[in-house]
């Protein structure tokens, strides 16, 4: 089920009413409703893949219980590897098998030997990368002793399948979300109100920004060989906002929906395009994934403790793995590697933790230097997004070659209709950059607040069209 669908518009109020009015006296029933609603939500897309979530949940729950009773290190390690093998096995088969087979065939072809290998004709289950990482975090945390294993299967199944963030994150940690399922829930008026506001903002980003940009992006990337430099730059610019509007919009709707049910999910985006360097960008972009890799890959690999060479190696590993997480294509690997290259100078000069605060803290306007830093960082991400969006590496390089050398910087005026929406979004985000989301406008008068709601909802509705797209991150 898509957030931007009529079905969800019916599903959400029904679930909300059942949750708070019918089952509010019994926590276990509320959790059971979360499981049932989540399975309906996911099954609406393809019920056959519910079995994957079910198996993944059942195995990790059982392994968690077993880890609680087993003390022998070898046996504990065996259990951890079992969970890793199963979860990553599903991911490997459904997401990466064909990529490895094709890459192997290509590699043999390069050396003049053609081999026959069969690829699988399978569909990638929506959100598999998200819930796989979520369940993995649970087993790893239990194994490390950072978390007490769950003794309530309903709670655990609700944690794995929690519908607001099931298919596109934020990738929650058991340490944050699982415990919330055992706490009695009391309706919090302010939290629910904030949730609704965040949902409104999420829909605005998805429909008025991402979906309108997508039409131009598809056209420009689809015929890039015939476009001017200016148009190709516009295509990359629009894609930067398409993917931001799409993914952060989804996260806002997810976090807002979770608030309606009394849950706090982690922040996934903190205005990344206001970053002053790439390190800051990665502290603000897809936070739940970058911190996941930091905690479960970078630190176990030794982080920066083994000196510069190991820090460089580990940085490359996490960026490349992070790229690969997005999809089974070399373009994502190059995208990850490119970000690692951007990041390295900051790491090596110990400047990667320089910009920990908000830009232009305490003042309305940024300094000239900050504007320059923001623009340079944005342009670097723009370059990387070309690889992310292109179908293959050669197309990415060709796109960039034409962008740099075609010479004409003219842009067709008819392609600029998404710019006003982007300016509205950037303007509101800039003013509200110290808030969790721009709709936190409690300080305004009630009339002003209502005017903002009217404007944002109208702009969102006005951009609903038959060209509205699925969320990009579903495919990851």
């Amino acid at each position: 089920m898509l957030f931007n669908s009529i079905e969800f518009l019916v599903f959400l109020p029904i679930t909300f009413v059942l949750y708070w009015f019918m089952l509010n006296k019994d926590l276990r029933l509320q959790n059971l409703l979360v499981v049932v609603a989540s399975y309906i939500f996911y099954g609406w897309w393809d019920w056959r893949f519910l079995s994957l979530i079910f198996i993944s949940s059942a195995v990790d729950y059982s392994i968690g219980r077993k880890l609680a009773s087993v003390t022998k290190p070898k046996a504990r390690k065996y259990l951890l590897w079992l969970s890793l093998a199963l979860n990553l096995g599903f991911l490997g088969v459904f997401k990466y098998f064909n990529f490895f087979v094709d890459s192997l065939k290509d590699a043999f072809h390069v050396f003049g030997a053609d081999i026959e290998l069969t690829t699988l004709n399978i569909v990638l289950p929506v959100g598999i990368s998200f819930y796989t990482f979520q369940t993995l975090s649970y087993t790893i945390d239990v194994y490390k002793g950072n978390l007490k294993p769950s003794d309530d299967p309903v709670e655990f199944f609700a944690f794995v399948s929690f519908f607001p963030q099931l298919v596109a994150g934020p990738i929650e940690r058991a340490t944050n979300l699982l415990g919330q399922f055992s706490e009695p829930r009391v309706f919090d008026y302010h939290k629910a109100k904030d949730g609704v506001r965040q949902i409104i903002w999420g829909f605005f980003k998805k429909i008025a920004i991402a979906d309108t940009c997508a039409v131009f992006v598809n056209d420009i990337f689809g015929s890039y060989a015939d476009q001017s430099s200016g148009m190709l730059l516009l295509g990359a610019f629009y894609f930067a906002f398409q993917i931001y509007g799409d993914f952060s919009g989804y996260s806002d709707i997810a976090i807002g929906t979770a608030k309606l049910f009394g849950f706090d999910l982690m922040t996934n985006f903190r205005y990344p395009y206001f970053s002053r360097d790439i390190a800051e960008f990665w502290r603000r972009w897809h936070i739940s994934l970058s911190t996941w890799f930091r905690d479960y890959l970078y630190i176990p690999l030794g982080g920066s403790r083994g000196g510069r060479s190991s820090a460089v190696r580990n940085t490359f590993i996490i960026f490349i793995v992070s790229g690969f997480w997005h999809g089974a294509n070399w373009t994502f690997i190059v995208w990850g590697a490119l970000n690692a290259i951007y990041f390295l100078p900051l790491l090596l000069s110990n400047r990667n933790r320089r910009n920990l605060d908000n830009v232009a803290n305490g003042s309305l306007w940024p300094s000239f230097g900050e504007v320059r830093q923001i623009i340079v960082t944005f342009l670097l991400t723009l370059l990387a997004w070309v690889f992310f969006r292109s179908p293959d590496i050669s197309n990415s390089f060709e796109y960039l070659r034409i962008l740099v050398f075609s010479g004409s910087w003219l842009v067709e005026f008819s392609y600029l209709s998404s710019v006003p929406m982007i300016l509205i979004m950037v303007g509101l985000e800039w003013i509200q950059r110290e808030k969790t989301h721009p709709m936190q406008i409690e300080k305004l008068s009630s009339i002003a607040r209502l005017s903002v709601y009217c404007l944002i909802v109208f702009l969102t509705i006005a951009h609903v069209s038959s060209t509205n797209q699925e969320f990009i991150y579903f495919q990851f």
Binding site: W20, F187, Y189, A192, K193, V196, A208, T212, V215, N218, D219, E412, F413, S414, Y415, L416, S417, L450, Y453, C454, V457, F458, L459, I461, A462, H463, V464, S465, S466, T467
Partner: protein, 352 residues
Amino acid sequence: MKEFIKEIFIKGAIVLLFCISTSALIYQLDFDHYDFYELPEVVNRKNNFNQFENNINTVFIGSSRIFRHIDPEVFDSITGLSSYNLGYAGLFPFRSYDFLEKLAIEDTQIKNIFIELAPLALLGQNFNTEPFIHSIDLKKFSIALSFSNNEVYTKQEQLKYTLGYSMLFFYKYSGLGVSKYLNQTIFKTADFRENRDSDNIYTQGYLSLDDDLKSHGSDYQNLQVRRDEFHGNSQKWLNLYRSANESYLKDPVTMIQKDDFTEYIENVVDSLVKRGIKVHFIISPRQVKSDLYYLRNQKKWLEDYKVYDFSDANEYATIFTESASFDRVHLNEDGAEELTEILANLYIQNNN
């Protein structure tokens, strides 16, 4: 909790009111964005027609039952006229009458216009698409509501029409997709939809369903399913149309008062008639019972016009056979040729 829900409803109503009034205001602006919300196939049909209008003296307008059923080459070879098929799938009233107005036929050499007489239908699950949404306004909505109350329709059908048209009206005036109007005005936004090219087989005149299937076009799978579904149980469907006709002959329901929808049609075609253009109506074969009852009444109300009624399964038995059928609603190429020949011969009889 109660306060939260109350606030959601009150603020939601205010926001909705804002959206409705803003979009109503935008729709009041003098824009002509027909080419942007109507299907590219229909728009290109209009553009193709404009290219050749000097050589054309007869046009056919209506849904797929015109598009797939009237072969201008066959028609012209019998009548000596020079005709163009402007029908397209789903081009029901009000869309078909909007299309007629956009063609500005008054300013052309057209002498004959054949219009499919069809009830105010909505196209299944696709009714809430932009062309349908934008074909409605307050006046047309009230016509649709009065049409929905027609006694020949069952309570269930009446409810379907009422809900369907109310949703269309709501979709439009809640502001859904209204940005397209503003963007087109300010930015002259490019059209990225499929089938924009004027050479596309769907953007030109008549195309039989058999030829469409052979071309493996964009609707290939759907056509196959529809064809197989019909031929799997053809007699059941054909008997349905036959029994609707029998039922009407046995027990016709006569609606005394002309309805708003028929008056609307008369108003639309009035200007054409005043300019010396001959307007003919066609009732396509294979009507379900309620539609057949309605159209037979409408035929009586439109007595000033020639109505070619092919819904009688006894009179036109040759086009109510499996061999003339593509699917349950449409004729195949042979059936279309047969129907066109009958129409052409009837036209000659009436004009001699």
